[in-house]
Amino acid sequence: MEKLELYVPRLIQKKEKFAPGHRACVGCGEALAIRQTFKALGNNIIVVNATGCAEIFTGQLPVSSWEVAWIHTLFENTAAVASGVEAAYKVLRRKGSPLPANTKIIAIGGDGGTSDIGLQALSGAMERGHDFTYICFDNEAYMNTGIQRSSSTPFGAMTTTSPVGKKSIGKFSWKKNMPEIAVAHNIPYVATATHSYPFDLMAKVKKATEMPGPAYVHVLSVCPTGWRSANDTIIRQGRLAVETGVFPLFEVVNGEYKITVDVPKLRPVKDYLKIQGRFRHLSDENIAKIQARVELEYQKLLEKANHGGQKTKRSS
C-alpha cells in the first residue's frame, strides 16, 4: 500500500468528469464517491440526479460541475425520470436517431431520495426492468435540509429530528436495509461500496452499468458535517464501517452473494462509533445492542455468501 501513488495513476484515468469548484463541505464523502464513480464511467452516460446535497453542490444556474449529460428534476422521482430517459433513448435509437450507441443511464440520489420518498419510483423502475443503474449515496440522513433522520439513519444516531433527550437516545429504529430491498426485486446486480475502497467502488459501478437491466449500488458516503466528526477522517470512518461489519462490502450477481472485501475478524463497533459525534451519547448497553445486531446481520450475510460454516469471530 505504500506504493499506492506509483500505480494508482495507471489504474485510474486522470481526467475528471466531475469538475472541481463545487460547493460541498470540506471533506465531503459524497463528493469524493461521486468523483470516483464518474471517473469509472466515462462520457457515454446520461445522469439523472435527485434533489439533495449532490444536486445542490454541483449545479447552480448558470454553472455546473458536470461534464456529462445531466438532468435534475425533483427529489422523489429520479428512477421514474431515468425510466423515461431510458425508454426515449431506446425508441429514438430504434427509429434511427443519431444518439451514440450503448449509452448508460445512471440515476443518483441520497438515502432520503432512495430509501424514503423515492422508494416507490425506484421499486417500480426496478420491477419494470429498465436498463439503468441506480446509485444511492448514503450519508445516513437528510443532509441537504440540515441533518434530519431518514430510514437509513442508523439506530442511536442523533439527528435534528431524532434528537437526544431525557426520553430519547437518538434514532429509535434500525437502519432500513436498502440493498436487500433491491435484491428482493430480483435484478441482475446489487452491490455495496464506499469511497474508502475506491477500486472496489469503481469496479462495482462499472460492472453495474455493464449488466443489462436494472442495477443498484449502495454507497456509504461519510458526511463529516452531519455525523459530527472530523473532516479529515472520512477515509478512516469508511474503512472502520467495513472493518467493524457495520457496512459490509458485497455484491449480488444474479442472486449470488459475494463478499468483495473480506473481514476475517471484525473490529468492535465501538471503534467506529466513538469517532462520530452523532453517537457520543450512547451508553455501553446501547453499544452492546448495536454490536449484537451487527454480528447477527453480518452472520446472515456470510450465510448468503455461502460462507455458512464459519461463524463471525468475536471482536477482541
Partner: protein, 391 residues
C-alpha cells in the same frame, strides 16, 4: 378520402396519438381515462405504434417519466384524470419550467372527497397555474383534432411548453361519436418531426434543471411567461394550418349567436353543446341571449374574450368547480378580473353546477340563464350561486 366512423372518443384520442407517431407513452390508469391508455398499450403491443409504453407505478412517476422522455427528445404522451392529475401536480410545474413539450389528455373528473368518478372541472382548476397550455374540447372530433394540434403547438421551438387537452370524463371519453379520423399521410404532412433543441445527448452534454439562486430565478420565470404569451400566436397559426389542411376551424373563444346579444352564457367543455340548445330555445321564446365558449384556457385569450362580450349587459358564467369560500367559481373569477378595468363591461353572474357528474339539462341551462338575468338586475347577497342543490 376521409370518412366519418362511429368510434368511442377515448379510442379515437389514442388513435390520434398513434397517427402522430408518439415515441413514448407513460401512463397510470384511472377512470375515466383508462380506455385511452389501454388502447395505446394495445397499439404498442400489436406493433401498430412503434413506441415505448411505460406502465409506471403512479401518476407522479408517469409525469416524471415524461420529463425524462421529452428531455431526451422523444415525442411524449400521457393521459390522466382527477386524483391522478393532482398527484402529478408537483411534476407539472417542472415540465413547464423546464420547457418540455409533453402532451397530455385529461379526462376531467371531480376530486375526492367524497370520492366520485364522474365529471366536473375541479381537477383542471387545481392545475390552472402549472404553466401548461390548456385547451378545452367539446366533442370527439375536437378531441382528435386538438390532440394532433397539441403536438405541433407544444413541440414548436418558439413554444416548447407542455400542453393539456381537457375532455370531459364519461360525457366525452365513454361515448361513441361519428368522427372523421385524418389519414396518416395527412397528419405526417401537418405535424413535422419533433426537433427538441437541446436534448440529453452524451455527444453534446447539457446540464438541465439546475437550481436558481434569487439572482436568476425571476429571470427564468419571466422567460417562461414571455413564451407562454408568445405561444398564442403559434396556437392560432397551428389552428389556421389545421383548418387549411382538414377544414375544421378552432378559435380561442368561440361564439354562438352572441353577436349583439345582451345576455351571454359562458361555458367550457362538453356541456357547451347542451347550453347551445338552451340558447336556441330562449331565442325562440324571444329572449336576447347568446353563448361564448372558452376553448383556450391557458394562455387566457384576453383580447378575443373582451371582444366577444363587449356589447353584452349580462354575462352568466358556468363553473363546474367550486373555490370553497372564494369570490366566485374559478372561471368567473378570471373573467371578472379580465373585465374589471374596462369602462364598459357586462355584469358577471357566477353559477356553479354540474359537480361530480350531475347533469345540467337544457331546462337547467334555461333556468340558469333566466336566474342570471334576474340576479344581474336585483343583485344577490351571494358571491356565487350553486344551482340544482336539494337542500
Amino acid at each position: 378520402m376521409t370518412t366519418r366512423i362511429g368510434i368511442e372518443v377515448s379510442i379515437a384520442v389514442a388513435d390520434a396519438v398513434q397517427l402522430c407517431n408518439a415515441d413514448v407513452v407513460a401512463a397510470y390508469p384511472i377512470t375515466p381515462q383508462t380506455h385511452i391508455v389501454e388502447h395505446l398499450a394495445e397499439l404498442v403491443a400489436n406493433g401498430e405504434l412503434d413506441a415505448e409504453y411505460i406502465p409506471v407505478e403512479s401518476e407522479h412517476s408517469a409525469m416524471s417519466a415524461c420529463l425524462g422522455s421529452a428531455a431526451t427528445g422523444a415525442r411524449t404522451f400521457t393521459a390522466t384524470s382527477s386524483q391522478g392529475l393532482v398527484l402529478m401536480d408537483e411534476v407539472l410545474f417542472v415540465a413547464s419550467g423546464m420547457r418540455l413539450p409533453i402532451v397530455m389528455a385529461v379526462a376531467n373528473r371531480a376530486l375526492s372527497s367524497p370520492l366520485s368518478i364522474w365529471g366536473d372541472h375541479s381537477d383542471v382548476m387545481s392545475v390552472r397555474d402549472t404553466g401548461w397550455i390548456q385547451i378545452f374540447v367539446e366533442n370527439g372530433q375536437q378531441a382528435v383534432d386538438n390532440t394532433i394540434c397539441a403536438f405541433r403547438i407544444a413541440e414548436d421551438n418558439r413554444v416548447l411548453l407542455p400542453t393539456m387537452i381537457h375532455l370531459d370524463g364519461f360525457n366525452l371519453t365513454h361515448v361513441i361519436e361519428p368522427i372523421i379520423m385524418p389519414e396518416e399521410s395527412e397528419v405526417a404532412k401537418f405535424l413535422p418531426p419533433n426537433k427538441f433543441p437541446l436534448p440529453l445527448n452524451p455527444d453534446k452534454p447539457v446540464a438541465m434543471g439546475s437550481f436558481a439562486a434569487p439572482g436568476i430565478f425571476i429571470e427564468a420565470k419571466w422567460a417562461q411567461e414571455q413564451n407562454m404569451k408568445a405561444s398564442k400566436k403559434v396556437i392560432m397559426e397551428v389552428w389556421n394550418e389545421f383548418y387549411k389542411a382538414f377544414g375544421r376551424q378552432y378559435l380561442p373563444v368561440e361564439k354562438y349567436k352572441s353577436d349583439g346579444a345582451k345576455v351571454l352564457i359562458l361555458t367550457m367543455g362538453s356541456f357547451s353543446e347542451t347550453a347551445s340548445v338552451a340558447v336556441d330555445e330562449l331565442i325562440d321564446e324571444g329572449k336576447d341571449v347568446g353563448q361564448v365558449r372558452l376553448r383556450l384556457w391557458r394562455p387566457f385569450p384576453f383580447d378575443e374574450f373582451r371582444q366577444a362580450v363587449k356589447d353584452a349587459d349580462v354575462l352568466v358564467v358556468l363553473d363546474r368547480a367550486v373555490s370553497v369560500g372564494g369570490p366566485a367559481g374559478p372561471v368567473a373569477s378570471e373573467v371578472k378580473s379580465a373585465l374589471y378595468n374596462l369602462a364598459k363591461k357586462p355584469k358577471v353572474v357566477s353559477f356553479i353546477a354540474g359537480l361530480g357528474g350531475r347533469d345540467i339539462t337544457v331546462k337547467g341551462f334555461k333556468d340558469i340563464i333566466t336566474k342570471g338575468i334576474e340576479i344581474a338586475r336585483t343583485g344577490s347577497k351571494n358571491e356565487y350561486e350553486i344551482y340544482g342543490v336539494r337542500e
